[in-house]
Structure formats: structure tokens, C-alpha cells
Amino acid sequence: MSPLPSEWRPEAAAIEAVVMVATEPVSSQLLSELLEVSVERIEELCAVMSQAYEEEERGFELAHIAGGYRFQSHPAYHGYVERFILDEVPSRLSPAALETLAIVAYKQPISRAQIAQIRGVNADGVIRLLTQRGYVEMVGRDEGPGQAILFGTSQTFLERLGLESIGNLPPLETFVPDVSTVELLEQALRPGPEV
């Protein structure tokens, strides 16, 4: 039985809704602005909600991390989550994901629509995967109407590719692949278990 007073429900639900769809921890400051209540009130609400989830033995918890709140899986169910990740998360990039990553790397900052235009098909799912794995991140917003999110490659991306900066990528124009690269490329593009 939840210790959350029922008259707190609407505020608690608003927090649940926002934190559920946020991709980064949401600060109490931001929640306070959204709900138009004090920061103290937000913290009180979150503490009680978090305790309630624990008591209700939910599979998720409301964690206070990096100065904000986020939903995450409960440690008690890590076994299921790990198996899910191993089963579901591909072990290598699909050709579509590799193409999209290449476009972002060379054309950043770039919007979803521009990527879709180059590839000829919608790239939302692939961008989501790349963002989620931390290879690609939001780097700004377009100034035009709609203020589209602009994407670029991340520090993680540079580290994994052993690059000091994005300027160290081979230039597009002069590159002629040698035999071993072509082989590697073919391997990378060969169909297999993937996204």
C-alpha cells in the first residue's frame, strides 16, 4: 500500500509523466518550474514516490542521480535486463546505422530531416540507437523554423575510433581505399546478427 497521500496524486503523476519520457535526469529545479511548485515540494514528492515504488516492489525505481531524477530498472531485476540487452541489443552496427554514423561524422551538425534526405528513408530508429549508445549526441538546434535538433558525434565516438578530433577523419575527397580496408568494409557490411 502506497504511503503517498491521494491528494498528492496529480502532482506525482505529472512528475511520473515527465521523468518517464526524459532521456537525461530531470532536475528538481526544472520540475519545480514545470509544476509551478517549490523545489522543496518537488523533493518531498519524489522522496515519497521513490519510497512508495520500493514498498510496492516495483521493477523500477526513481533514482536521484547527477542532480536530477530518473526512472531506472531496480537492481533486483538486473538479471532480466542483462539478458534482454544481450538478446536484443545487436553486437554490431547494421549497414543502415553505419551509413547514418558516417553521414553524421562528416556532415555534422546535421538534422534528422537532412539525414533522411541523404539516405532516402527515415532514420529515426537508427539515430535513436546511435544516441543511446553515446556515439552521437544532440549538439544544438537549427535556427530555422521548427528548431530541428542538430546531431554530431560524441567524445565516446572519437575515443572508440582512436581519433584526437573529428578533423582527423580521413578527408572525403582524396581517400582511395586500399585492399585491406575494402576487405574490412565488406566484413563490416556483411549481413549478420545486427540491428
Binding site: V81, E82, R92, L101, Q132, F157, L172, T181, Q187, A188
Partner: protein, 264 residues
């Protein structure tokens, strides 16, 4: 914004006109399509920029009007053979089926729009596994080198060739208007008069017919022939009237960029 028309037989919103014709309140014969089109174009010019919704709606209604008028202008049943009568019914049924189908899908489209705007009120959770699971998730960039990435980018970003539909396999009849004209100028002066059918030289293909017809019009434009037709829909007779034949055959428009009508 609705477009209104002002005609002798009708004065009011354009879309209502179609409805009134449908229930036979307004006689479609009395409706001048050209006047409506002129009025609409004048209306469009007044607008600062093209209103696509309005233009589309206009085109749809205007096309339906043309369709209606064509249907009603068809000769009455007395003039028709049984087969023609049947095909007329078939054409009507077909048109009706088309209209019903269009209406059905436009209703379905409304439903989809409704579903979409309802679904847009919920946002999906997309944040994925947090950093606690980083060690579980494999490194997807393990086998990717900067060279591979560059090669992929080069391929994807290369200017893609503009897709061209290969037409090499389509047979082209090499009949041009200019050639046909040349041919007619060879035949007509000696014959004096001939029907269009005769001028087609027994070749009743559509291409030959169109080329001959255009060539005849070209001759008429140059005042070298006259036409005779006993009554509506009877055979067209072309009469050679020119004195000289040395001032033509320049600047003949082939009505086709590639000079060949055949591919059409």
C-alpha cells in the same frame, strides 16, 4: 477561403454549384466552364501567393464538372449501338466506382489523422539502458576504423545518379510531323481533295493519325488547304488550295522535342 462564381444561371460558392448540378437544380449545359476558369485565374492573381488547398479543391471540382459535362454531351441512346450503350453504362459504373473509392479513402485518411493526433498526446520512453549496463552492451564500433567510416561516407554522400527510366526497349515509330507534311505536299496537289482517312495511307495507327492530323492543321495554318465537313462527326475533307509549293517546309514544329511521336 471559398471561391465564388457569378454566372447567369448561378451565383454563389463554387463547391455548391457541383452539388446543385448533381441534384439537377442547375443545368450543366448552361454552365460556362471557361468563364469559371477565367474567374478563378483572376481570383488567384489577386492572392499574394498560391493557396494550394484552394487550387486543389478548384481543380477537383472543375475536373468533375468537365467529366459531368462530357457525360451529358454524349449522344443520346437513339444514336447508339447496343454495344456502345453497354460501354457507356460500363464507363459510368467505372466512374462511379472510382468516385466511391476516392471518397472511401479520403474518409479513411481522416481517421488516420485522428488516430495520429490522439497518439501524439503520449510520448514513448526511449532512454534505454543506463550506464550501469555499459559493460553488458557490446561496443558496436569495435570493428569500425576511421577508414571504413570514410569509405561509407564517400559512398553515401557521392552524388547519386539521377534515376532515368530506360526506354530503349520501347519501339518508336519514326513518323514525324515534318515528314508527314512533306508526304502530304507530295500527294495533295495532284489529288485536289482527300479525306483524312485517305491521307493516312491505310495506316490507321494512332501515331500516323495524329501526325497526319497535325500536318493538315499545319497546312491550314499556312493557308494551303481548306476543310469541308457535311455535318457534325461526318468525314473531314481536305481541299488543296495553294498555288505555289515552294515557300513551305521550313520551321515545321514537330510538336515533340525529340521529333518522334512514336514514344507517346
Amino acid at each position: 477561403m471559398a471561391f465564388a462564381v457569378h454566372l447567369d444561371v448561378y451565383d454563389g460558392p463554387f463547391n455548391l454549384l457541383l452539388q446543385l448540378i448533381s441534384v439537377e437544380e442547375v443545368d450543366v449545359y448552361q454552365v460556362s466552364l471557361s468563364k469559371i476558369v477565367d474567374a478563378f485565374l483572376a481570383e488567384l492573381k489577386k492572392l499574394e501567393q498560391l493557396d494550394l488547398e484552394l487550387a486543389t479543391e478548384f481543380l477537383l471540382i472543375a475536373a468533375t464538372l468537365v467529366e459531368l459535362k462530357c457525360r451529358r454531351l454524349l449522344p443520346g441512346n437513339d444514336d447508339l449501338e447496343i454495344d456502345d450503350d453497354l460501354s457507356l453504362f460500363e464507363a459510368r459504373d467505372y466512374l462511379l466506382a472510382r468516385l466511391v473509392e476516392c471518397k472511401t479513402f479520403s474518409e479513411a485518411a481522416n481517421e488516420l489523422a485522428g488516430l495520429e493526433s490522439m497518439a501524439a498526446r503520449s510520448a514513448a520512453r526511449r532512454s534505454g539502458p543506463d550506464e550501469r549496463f555499459d559493460s553488458v552492451a557490446p561496443d558496436l564500433l569495435a570493428k569500425i576504423s576511421p577508414q571504413i567510416l570514410c569509405e561509407v561516407a564517400r559512398r553515401v554522400l557521392a552524388d547519386r545518379p539521377i534515376p532515368v527510366v530506360a526506354t530503349g526497349h520501347i519501339h518508336e515509330d519514326e513518323i514525324t510531323v515534318a515528314e508527314t507534311l512533306d508526304l502530304l505536299v507530295g500527294i495533295l496537289p495532284s489529288k485536289g481533295r482527300a479525306t483524312l482517312r485517305e491521307l493516312c495511307l491505310g495506316d490507321l495507327s494512332k501515331v500516323r493519325f495524329v501526325a497526319t492530323f497535325l500536318a493538315v492543321l499545319e497546312l491550314y495554318k499556312r493557308e494551303m488547304v481548306e476543310f469541308e465537313q457535311a455535318e457534325n462527326f461526318s468525314e473531314l475533307v481536305i481541299i488543296w488550295t495553294a498555288e505555289l509549293r515552294d515557300h513551305l517546309l521550313v520551321d515545321v514544329d514537330n510538336y515533340d522535342d525529340s521529333a518522334a511521336l512514336g514514344a507517346r
